[in-house]
């Protein structure tokens, strides 16, 4: 109808560990840092709580990108949860790679103090996914 193409905004689902990344996002809020509103965080007790099924479901139900964020390796509240996350997400990335949608899944390590890092990572991901979406590369 309109000749001008409307720019689409992506929806990004983030699974955030309640001990670090979620705290970082709250800190980013209290410091009045801005991150894109298309990023929806889901608080999980540990990043290893994220069954890859959640990620696949999010993607198949319309999310343009998904990220899993947890504490830096070695800093897990549950001692070793994020090492399991790393294995699972690495394997899922390999699987997404086979289906040609590797860029839609990210894994971040963000500690509770790194509000700036959280905002940077999330904004960078949002912008990349937005570009892909507007180029028609994602579903």
């Amino acid at each position: 109808m309109t000749a001008e193409k409307v720019e689409q905004n992506p929806e990004i689902i983030g699974f955030a560990c309640s001990y670090c990344t979620f705290k970082a996002s709250e800190m980013a809020g209290s410091l009045r840092m801005k991150y894109p509103e298309g990023v929806k965080l889901i608080q999980v007790p540990c990043s290893s709580r994220v069954d890859p099924a959640f990620i696949i479901k999010a993607i198949m139900d319309g999310a343009d990108g998904v990220f899993v964020a947890g504490c830096h390796p070695g800093d897990c509240h549950f001692i070793k949860g994020n090492y399991f996350t790393r294995r699972k997400v690495a394997a899922l990335k390999e699987m997404f790679d086979a289906f040609g949608m590797k860029e839609r899944l990210r894994l971040f390590w963000v500690s509770a103090a790194e509000a700036r890092r959280f905002v940077d990572k999330v904004t960078a991901m949002y912008n990349e996914i937005k570009e892909l979406k507007n180029a028609g590369k994602t579903g």
């Binding site: 479901k57 139900d61 990220f67 790393r86 294995r87 699972k88 040609g100 894994l107």
Partner: protein, 338 residues
Amino acid sequence: MRGKRVSSASIAQGLNRFLEDDRHLLLAFEKDARGVNLRAFKGKVEGLSLFNPVFSSNSALYVRRMFAKGTEIVLMLRPCEIRAYVELQKLSQMEREGIVAVSVDCFGAVSSKDEATEAPREAQAEKGLFRDFTHGRFACMTCRERRGVVGDAGVRVDKEGGLWLCPYTEKGEGFASLFEGETGETEAEMLPEGASPPEAEQFNTDMAAFSQDFSKCILCKNCKAMCPVCYCVDCLFNGDDYLPKGDALLNKVLRAGSTDLPQGKELFHLIRMFHVSQTCVGCGACEEACPQGIPLTRYFKGISERLQGLFSYLPGRSLDETLPYVTFLEEELKDAED
């Protein structure tokens, strides 16, 4: 490899001796007028067939959740079935002590669905089958381990067609002592070729091709039911959370807009693909069970080989290897992080 030279007759004799105890059972293939079928033998063994030229289901499925104490069960099955059994052992899905797993060299099989081909119903004729194997199943053609080198013991076939019984564990030694035959050193090269390395070219596809292939899916979940390593009692796909039906489906459509039906074909297969990724032995039982003829093996095997390659894991190779998702190294996968 150390082994015992045996014959079909001495195997049957030894097994009969084993089955004299009425707490002893044997799960193996039987040949009769109907063809070759899986059978649980009790008391005595008749018409035993070491090989089965037709694949219908993975027999490890039938020993899943077998926790009875006090019985001794011998499995004489294909390598892919024994590998699935080893994976199920790792997942604590069955009794560990009472089961002796014997893998028998495999020469590939034809699909039980494939009625057009002249499936060689004669088990003996199978020895030469793999050489000119044009009607084989996709899973068998791309098999990575068709030698009987997994489990507690193996029945190997040498280049002249002679049979060898090779024990690999203590349980296997005990089992081998049932049979008469002279002990000797087997040749390094037996009739089936060695383990083939993973495909040089990694499996790659895209969502469009995947959607196309799986558009025929009717979500009967037969693939899930017949998969030997898809073992969860309380499956994720029970209930309305992942595959909504009825009111849940109505609500979803009202909320999220129009959708393909049955809802969640791709979701179901992608999640199952990931969940079995490390334990998938690539037997192709899912494809065998699919009423719609979807090329499931191509996807499941391709994906699982890639994901297993990440951790250099071959499912069913050994009971001592830990499943990759329940262990980790502190220094690894540095490039996984973004």
